[in-house]
């Protein structure tokens, strides 16, 4: 009868390995040493963090090289580099969000900011609110409305054009010369600087409607020039991954090609197409340059995209910062600009969340 073996105190399997608490020890000493070094050259928190991280990585790699050997040390070195690169990439994002939050929240919470326009808010009003320490007046309602309307019209123009183009490319073109030309031009369009799209729309409507035509619709056309290639590309990819078997299954039932596309291919790909469209919207809603030359600026509410200048969030931010309402007291304008920036980021974030939701709602169900 076999005697059950007892567990050995020092396992042969972990020989030549650093004990599991090593990283904690290294991290602790790295922080202390970094603090000491920083004290010598003048302390600041950011430098302390960076120095600690570098010392921690170096200590980890060195200790591993001494005890565990070359292979483990290289592993830890590469891990440190990868994590470090990730943190560096994250830094601007966190910094931007933090700055906008700190500067934007007071303005966003100011009474009437979301519900009023800049109509009647003059330099004198801003001067008075600074002098009397009363809340800053004026709001972004007109700009928000403008942004939403312009983007909505841009979507109304871009989605049919983009979706039909991608259907032609995937379902009908059979990779002919014409489709290659379209694909090439779409790629070129993706790279068009946004100001060029704005100039195109301004020049086009200038020719057709008379010079200096600036309306929300002109801006929507400019944005759709930027949006169409994104919609084409994303829908094309989504239609391509619909398995051919499904098309054949529909054909074998005696279903016509256009009905197959409409009722089998598109429903199967709709979740990807919808989230692609939402991301395209998020991409253009923050465009500034094309709106400056197509929709102009406005301080009052304009809900008609076919007549009159129209404000939008990006141009609102731009004008508030560049030409403060009261040149002698720019603080109220800056506060409004930061709040509008925060609002824009929130809108884009909501759109991204919306894209995920849409993708989840439309995704083919797999439950039993």
């Amino acid at each position: 009868m076999a005697v059950p073996m007892t567990e050995r105190k020092r396992s042969a399997l972990t020989r030549g390995r650093l004990p599991t608490y090593t990283p904690h020890v290294v991290a602790g000493s790295a922080i202390v040493v970094a603090a000491a070094l920083m004290a010598l050259i003048g302390f600041n928190a950011f430098g302390w963090g960076v120095l600690s991280a570098v010392l921690f990585a170096a200590g980890n790699v060195a200790s591993s090289a001494i005890v565990e050997g070359r292979r483990k040390a290289v592993d830890k070195l590469v891990t440190s580099v990868v994590v470090g690169a990730f943190l560096v990439a994250l830094l601007p994002l966190v910094s931007v969000i933090w700055t906008v939050l700190v500067n934007g929240v007071p303005g966003l919470l100011a009474p009437g900011f979301l519900g009023t326009s800049m109509n009647g808010v003059t330099g004198a009003v801003d001067n008075a609110s600074v002098a009397n320490h009363t809340p800053v007046l004026g709001g972004v309602y007109h700009a928000m409305l403008g942004s939403v309307l312009i983007t909505l019209w841009a979507t109304v123009i871009s989605v049919p054009v983009g979706l039909l183009t991608s259907i032609y490319l995937v379902e009908y073109s059979a990779d002919n010369k014409f489709s290659k030309v379209i694909t090439f031009l779409v790629d070129v369009m993706t790279g068009i600087p946004s100001i060029v799209a704005g100039l195109f729309a301004a020049a086009f409507f200038g020719l057709v409607m008379g010079p200096g035509t600036k309306t929300g619709f002109v801006a929507a056309v400019a944005l759709s020039v930027l949006m169409i290639p994104v919609v084409v590309r994303s829908s094309e990819e989504m239609l391509k991954i619909v398995p051919n078997e499904l098309r054949e299954a529909a054909y074998a039932l005696g279903v016509r090609k256009w009905r197959t596309i409409l009722k089998v291919v598109i429903p199967t790909a709709i979740s990807g197409i919808a989230s692609g469209v939402t991301l395209a919207i998020a991409r253009v809603i923050g465009e500034t340059a094309p709106l400056l030359v197509t929709a102009g600026f406005a301080s009052q509410i304009n809900s008609n995209v076919f007549a009159g200048w129209m404000a939008s969030l990006p141009t609102f931010i731009y004008t508030q910062i560049m030409t403060p309402t009261s040149p002698s007291n720019p603080d109220p304008s800056a506060q409004r600009a930061w709040a509008a920036a925060l609002l824009l980021i929130l809108l884009v974030m909501l759109l991204n969340l919306g894209a995920r939701l849409v993708a989840r709602i439309f995704a083919p169900k797999t439950g039993r």
């Binding site: 059979a174 499904l246 054949e248 074998a252 039932l253 005696g254 279903v255 083919p364 797999t366 439950g367």
Partner: protein, 259 residues
Amino acid sequence: MSKRIDVSDLNVYYSDFLAVEDVNITLDAKSVTAFIGPSGCGKSTFLRTLNRMHEVIPGARVEGKVLLDGDNLYADGVDPVTVRSQIGMVFQRPNPFPTMSIRDNVLAGVKLNSRRMPKSDADELVEKSLRGANLWNEVKDRLGKPGSGLSGGQQQRLCIARAIAVSPEVILMDEPCSALDPISTLAIEDLINELKDEYTVVIVTHNMQQAARVSDKTAFFNIAGTGKPGKLIEFAETATIFNNPSQKSTEDYVSGRFG
């Protein structure tokens, strides 16, 4: 229902490549015909020419005649959609529509063509087709659930139900059991035996026992070498093909001494 198919002098091409050469064959109504042969010999390609699915592939074309009860499928002015609504097909891998429920999958042939159908008729058609595919008892309590949630064998029977719901004359099956386990395979083979009372069934299979079990007649296809066209070598009663074939290559293939 069920019609015979007469094929004469059929050549099948992929662009310039001749894939299947000079096929002459008669597939009887209300019978099961099996196509056997090594991979790449053109059985599936030939099968797909019988309901004009071959031409879905870019550059693919066909020369010759395929008569469905005397009507040439490849005559001028014949709409492939009409042909396919009379000659249904079941594919190698089960392919239920992922966006549709079990019920909608069965009704796909009707719904996708936007034909209106009263709910009672639709219910009747669903039950009849699912019973016809031996699937009714397994799914009758969850007709609203997605078809992709079924097991592989059930999905394949769902595809058969979908094919017979449009009441075709002929059902083509392209290796319908190759992705299934032996029990699901048995269920489908039983089903094929029942289907031949009403339909003309043509089945491509790599499984010679299966051909022997389910078919009345068997066609053996072979290929002389890579790049050469596939040919129909021998076509006879299944018993003859397996017990007393007239061609040496058929005998080699069915006895496993191939190559």
